[in-house]
Amino acid sequence: MRHTNTHSRFSAVAVALALSCALLFPASGRADDKLRIMTATTDLAALAQEIGGDKVEAESIARGYQDPHFVEAKPSFLLKLRRADLLIVVGLELEIGWLPPLITQSTNPKIQVGAPGYFDASRYAKILEIPTGQVTRAEGDVHPLGNPHYWLDPENGLRIARAIQDKLSEMRPNDSAYFAQRYASFEQRLKQADQQWLAEMKPYAGRKIVTYHRSWPNFAEHFGLNVVGYVEPRPGIPPSPQHTVELIGMMKRDGVKVIVVEPYFDLKTPNSVARETGGQVLVLTPSVGGEKEITDYFKLFDYDIAKLKQAFDATH
C-alpha cells in the first residue's frame, strides 16, 4: 500500500514538474520591433496595414473568402494571438461564435476585452440596421447591435483608419508622425478613389438588387443601390421553396435582374432564381482577399464596382 501511495505522489509531482519545466522555456522571442496586429477579418488587417506601414505586421484570422460568422476557433490561431500586441475586431457580435474562446485561451493579457490592445472597430463606424423594439430569433440570426458588415462603406473605412491611427500613435508615440502621415495619404487616396467609384456608380443610382445575405446595407447606401430582397428568408436561415417563389415573383414584377451572392454561399438557389427571372447571379466579395487580385481595401471596391457595372450593363 505504501508503494501505491508513493506512486500517487510521484505522479502528481511528475505532472507538476512537467508544467514547471515548461515555464522555464521563454515565450517566443521577437525578431523585430514591429507591432503585431491580429484582426478578425482581412478588411481590418488591410486598413491596419495601410496606417501602420512597415511599423506593423497585420494578419487576419478569417480569410477573405470565408463566412466571418462561422470561423473555427483553431488552436493554431492561439499561437498568433498569444504574440499579438493589438487585436482588432469587427464587433457587433459578428465573431461571437468563435472569437471569445480564442481570446480567453490566448493567455495574452494585452488583448483581453477591455485591455488597451483590444480594439472594437464598430465603435468608430456608422452602423445601420440597429433593431429597435423587441428583437427575437423569429427574425433569424439577427444582430441586436446592428449590421456588422459596415466596412463596405469607404466612409466607414476612413473612420476606422482614423481610429487605428490614434490607437497606433497611443501604442507607439514615437511613430505618431509616421502614422499621421500614412493616414493623411490614405485619406487622400481613398477620397479620390471614392469620388471615382461614386462617379462610376452614378448612372446606376437607385438600381434594385437582391442579395443572398444582409451583407451589403452600407455598400448599398453609399453607392445608391436599392436592396429589395434576400435569397435567405431570414438572416442565417437557408432558402426555402416558398420564399424563393415569392422572391421570383417580386423580381419579375419589379424587373430586378441582379442577384448578389457572397463567395461562401451555395449558388444553386440563386442560379435557379436567375434562370426564372432572366437575371444574373453576381458573386461579389465582401472582403479583401475574397479573390486573389483583391489585395487591399481599394481593390475590394474596384473589383466589386467593376463587377456590378458589368452586371447592370448586361441585364439592362
Binding site: L92, I96, P109, L128
Partner: protein, 454 residues
C-alpha cells in the same frame, strides 16, 4: 440635437451658477445693487435661452415627424428580414443619397454599435433544452420512453480586467446539478491559464463536451463503463495550462488539474487528502487550411469509488490513461455546407478494488470508440460510431455497440436528431444481451450561448 443639448447644459449651468451665487444665509441683510442687476441679467438670459430651446424642440419634432413618415417603408426593409410579400417591396423607395465624408473625424465619434447599453452588466444568459425519446429494446440499461433529459442554463461574463467566469447549471429529471462553474484568470504571467471551480476535466475529448454539443444523442459506452457515466470526470478543483514549445507549425499545450477527488463512479475522496489529478497533453496541426489533426494524451488518478466497505479505501486507486486523435476537414469557402470529422479515443483503466472474497485486486479494462460525422449540406448531418468497452470493475465483461445518426438543423439554434443504436451488452462472462433502440432528440437554444472551445 447637439444644439439642444448644448443649450440645456448652458441653462443648467446658469441655474446652478445663480443658485450658488444667491445669498446663502438670511442674516445677510444687504445685497448690492450690482448683484441685483447681475441676477436680473442672468434671469433674462435664462428666459431667452428657454424660449430658444422650446423653438428648437418644436423644429426638431417637426423634422422627426416628417422623416419618420418618409422613411417608414425603409425602416421595414432595414430592420426586419421579413418574407417578401407581394406589393410590399415595390413601394420601397431608393436608398437616400449618402452624406459626404466629414472633413474631420475624431476618435471619440461613436455611432452606437458596440457601445450599446443593451446588455448592461448582465452576463450572457442561455438555456439549452435537451429532449430525448427512446423506443425499442434494452434490458441492461433501459432509459425512459420520453424525458426532458436536461435543461442547461449557462451564464457567462467577464468578471474584471483579469478574469472571466462561466457557469452551467443542469436541471435534470431528478434534480439540479452544477455541471460547471469556474473562473478563468486570463492575465497571468508566463502564459499560464488558471481555472478555479467545478469543471469537466480536460481528460480526452468526449469528457470535455457538454451533452448538447455531443455529435450523438448519447455518450459512447466507454464513458459509462470506464469514466463514470454521463458527467464523467467533473469535479471541483484547479486547472493550470500553458502552451509548450513545439516544432514549427505544431501547437502543443499542457494541462495539469487537481480535484477534490469525487467524480461519479470513478473517484471518491474518503479523506480530505484523497485528491485526484488529471494531466493532458494536446498537439494540434493544420495540415491544410481546411484539414487539421488534433492529438491528445491524458492521464487521471484518484481513489477508486465505491469502496466504503474496505478497511483502508484511501489505498485503492484508479489510474486511467487515454489517447485521442481527431481529423477534421472543413472547406473554408463552403464551411456551412460541408465538413467531415473522424475521431478515435482509447481508454485504459487500472482500478484497485476488493475481489468478491475481499482480496486486493487490480482490474485492467480497455475501451474505445470511433466516430465519423459528415455534414451533407447546410441542414443535414450524418454520423456513425463504433463502440467497445470493458467494465472498469469487471474487466471480463465487454460491451460492444454501433450507432448511426441523422441530424436536421432547422437553424443554428435548434436540432432534430434520430439515432439507431445497437448494443451487444455483457451481463455476465459469456452472457450477452442485445439491445436495439431508436432514439430521437430535440435540442433548442435560447439566448446567447458562448462558443465552446475547439
Amino acid at each position: 440635437m447637439r444644439k439642444t443639448a448644448v443649450l440645456s447644459t448652458l441653462i443648467l449651468f446658469s441655474t446652478l451658477a445663480s443658485a450658488q451665487q444667491s445669498p446663502p444665509a438670511p442674516q445677510q441683510t444687504y445685497v448690492s445693487n450690482a448683484e441685483d442687476a447681475r441676477m436680473k441679467t442672468l434671469e433674462d438670459q435664462v428666459r431667452t435661452l428657454a424660449g430658444e430651446v422650446a423653438l428648437l424642440r418644436n423644429e426638431l419634432k417637426d423634422l422627426r415627424e416628417t422623416k419618420s413618415f418618409q422613411s417608414q417603408p425603409e425602416g421595414h426593409i432595414l430592420l426586419a428580414s421579413t418574407r417578401v410579400e407581394s406589393g410590399m417591396l415595390a413601394s420601397i423607395p431608393a436608398a437616400p443619397a449618402p452624406e459626404p465624408v466629414p472633413a474631420q473625424l475624431v476618435q471619440t465619434q461613436t455611432y452606437g454599435g458596440a457601445s450599446s447599453n443593451a446588455k448592461l452588466l448582465n452576463p450572457d444568459i442561455s438555456l439549452i433544452g435537451d429532449f430525448i425519446g427512446t423506443a425499442g429494446h434494452n434490458n441492461v440499461s433501459p432509459s425512459p420512453s420520453l424525458q426532458m433529459h436536461e435543461t442547461e442554463v449557462g451564464m457567462q461574463a467577464i468578471i474584471d480586467p483579469y478574469a472571466r467566469a462561466d457557469a452551467f447549471l443542469s436541471f435534470g429529471e431528478t434534480g439540479v446539478n452544477v455541471e460547471e462553474a469556474y473562473v478563468t484568470f486570463t492575465s497571468l504571467p508566463a502564459g499560464l491559464l488558471l481555472k478555479v471551480g467545478k469543471m469537466r476535466a480536460d481528460f480526452g475529448k468526449v469528457n470535455t463536451i457538454h451533452n448538447h454539443a455531443l455529435p450523438f444523442i448519447d455518450r459512447p459506452l466507454v464513458t459509462n463503463n470506464l469514466i463514470g457515466g454521463e458527467d464523467g470526470i467533473d469535479d471541483a478543483g484547479f486547472s493550470l495550462s500553458r502552451f509548450l514549445p513545439a516544432p514549427k507549425d505544431w501547437f502543443l499545450e499542457g494541462t495539469a488539474q487537481v480535484f477534490r477527488g469525487d467524480s461519479d463512479s470513478v473517484f471518491t475522496a474518503y479523506r480530505r487528502q484523497d485528491l485526484s489529478v488529471v494531466g493532458h497533453l494536446r498537439a494540434y496541426r493544420d495540415l491544410t487550411e481546411s484539414t487539421n489533426l488534433d492529438l491528445g494524451l491524458s492521464y487521471a488518478r484518484g481513489n477508486s469509488a465505491g469502496l466504503f466497505t474496505a478497511s483502508n479505501p484511501s489505498a485503492f486507486f484508479t489510474n486511467i490513461y487515454a489517447a485521442d486523435a481527431t481529423l477534421r476537414w472543413k472547406p473554408l469557402r463552403r464551411a456551412i455546407y460541408h465538413s467531415f470529422l473522424f475521431r478515435n479515443e482509447l481508454f485504459w483503466s487500472a482500478r484497485d478494488q476488493l475481489s468478491p472474497v475481499n482480496v486486493f485486486q487490480t482490474q485492467h479494462a480497455f475501451g474505445f470508440y470511433s466516430d465519423a460525422e459528415y455534414r451533407v449540406n447546410r441542414r443535414w448531418t450524418l454520423g456513425g460510431r463504433f463502440d467497445r468497452s470493458g467494465h472498469a470493475a469487471a474487466a471480463n465483461l465487454t460491451d460492444t455497440g454501433f450507432s448511426a445518426i441523422l441530424t436536421y438543423w432547422p437553424s443554428e439554434f435548434s436540432q432534430i436528431r434520430g439515432q439507431y443504436r445497437f448494443g451487444h451488452l455483457a451481463v455476465a462472462p459469456n452472457d450477452f444481451s442485445n439491445a436495439n433502440e431508436l432514439l430521437f432528440q430535440f435540442l433548442f437554444v435560447m439566448g446567447a450561448h458562448g462558443a465552446h472551445p475547439f
